[in-house]
Amino acid sequence: MILSARQVSKSYGARQVLKEVSLTCSEGEICGLIGPNGAGKSTLFRILMGLVSLDSGSLDLRSKSPKPLGGIIEKPALYGYLSARENLRVFSRIQGLTLTAKHYGALMEQVGLSPDRHDPVRNYSMGMKQRLGLAIALLNNPDCVILDEPFSGLDPIGIRALQDQVRTLAGKRGIGVLISSHNLVELGDLCDRLYVINQGEIIREGPAQKVLQAAARGYLLFGEGLQGSRVLNSLHVEYRKGSALLFPDSRPIGAILNELTREEGVTLRGCIPQTDLRTLFEKEAS
């Protein structure tokens, strides 16, 4: 475990923005923090990064790195009048790193930026700025990276590229990644572990698939022969062109799919859980 926050609370005046929030992140683990806008994600990340003081609770960082945490809070903040290389130079120098031109070039290539580009970063697209922000966050080899809403403003290709980079960081370099979003699609298949935050409280947590499963409203099935299925017709189902939205009964979805394919010979091409955000963001009954 690299990062651990226990019972963290924070108020601004009479408004409590975090209520006894606890979370952990280990080496090579991708932890997602999902919640609606204003849920307290950025405040929590600011506290973890030391930008904002906490009222109560504790933080535990187990790292021997001179920079235990790297991160981007909301959008990457860069010096628009400087080039990407100069931005890297500024952020590396302030932490006492003396990197060569070769190092800067390698860092830029690592995040998919051209080392030959010398114009000011104000000309860059949001995706390129995110990549540069990530390169800056990775300076000085942090053990854990915190990425707050890194997908906002990115197009689908940019989102996919960033997701791949995050997987590489965790999988190949063993860096713990704590990542937030208000969009489930962006985090769903990326995270190992998921925390759901709403109104300053962690309301659900656990392995990502388990958390999502618990809030699944239905399953979108793709395949052939769906409409004539006896099994499906006995359940609550909405048929669409080439697909069916299934609301299963008390049986596990695995058992239903098994029945469909083995006993009825339906050819299934896909099954996508349809998570109900309202259910996901509702506090679990204890």
Binding site: A77, Y79, Y81, L82, F91, I94, Q95, I136, L139
Partner: protein
Amino acid sequence: MRNLLLTELFKIFRQRKTYYAIAAVFVLEAFIMVSAYYQGREILEVLLENLKESFEFRGDLLNANLIIYLVLNSFWFHIPLILMIVVSGFLTSEYKDRTVEAILLQPVSKWQLIVSKYLAALIFTVFILAVLVGSTFLLSYALFGKGDLVVFLEGLSFFESREALRRLILAFLTGSLTMVFYAVVSLTLAVLLQEATVTWIVAALFLIGTTLLLRLDFHSDLLNTYFFPKLTDTWQSLFYPEVPNGVILRKNAALGAYTFLFALIGIWVFQKRDIK
């Protein structure tokens, strides 16, 4: 700390606004010189009309020393205003672009960052003043030639060319302390207010208020001598016939203490405040 300071200076000299500030200083200087060239002789004629009946003047009184003295008078308002706008921008622009936050996401302490900003503001102020003094002396002597200095300060005072030059240099040095004071105050205002436009307005109000309070009699020797607005015109004392060296030193020391105090307030607030 050294790395932070060098980075601050690198950023300052990579920003367009730094060069606008330098250009503003040159425009101001050029304006004073052109005005002096076309109107200075007439003003001198009016000023010395009565004295000409009793004294014989030799040489040209519209000379480099008078021009330098006129440029020095921009220390009342113009130069501090330019400095306050640019220096406060060192921090307000970083709040706006959220690069303060980005820096503090690196292993950098808050107090080191803000102290490096104050040191960079100090170096920048000295640099701007060096540009102003260097170019003023160079251009004035090249265009107007040397000569005796006539100054109207509670009455007319005349200084021989060499003595005038010595006093002008000392006045620029003393005035530099005032400029550093204003630069430090503007950075502290930037820490407190964060937003650029609000900081500019408050900085301009501070400058106007200080200039007004300078003229006010507080009916207290202590306040009249050591309240900070009363310390911003010490450089003018260099043009009294008898230079009050002791008073100048004491006032400069007091202004230095105020400068330090304002910087400490800024450092303390920056250290305490969350970066939201």
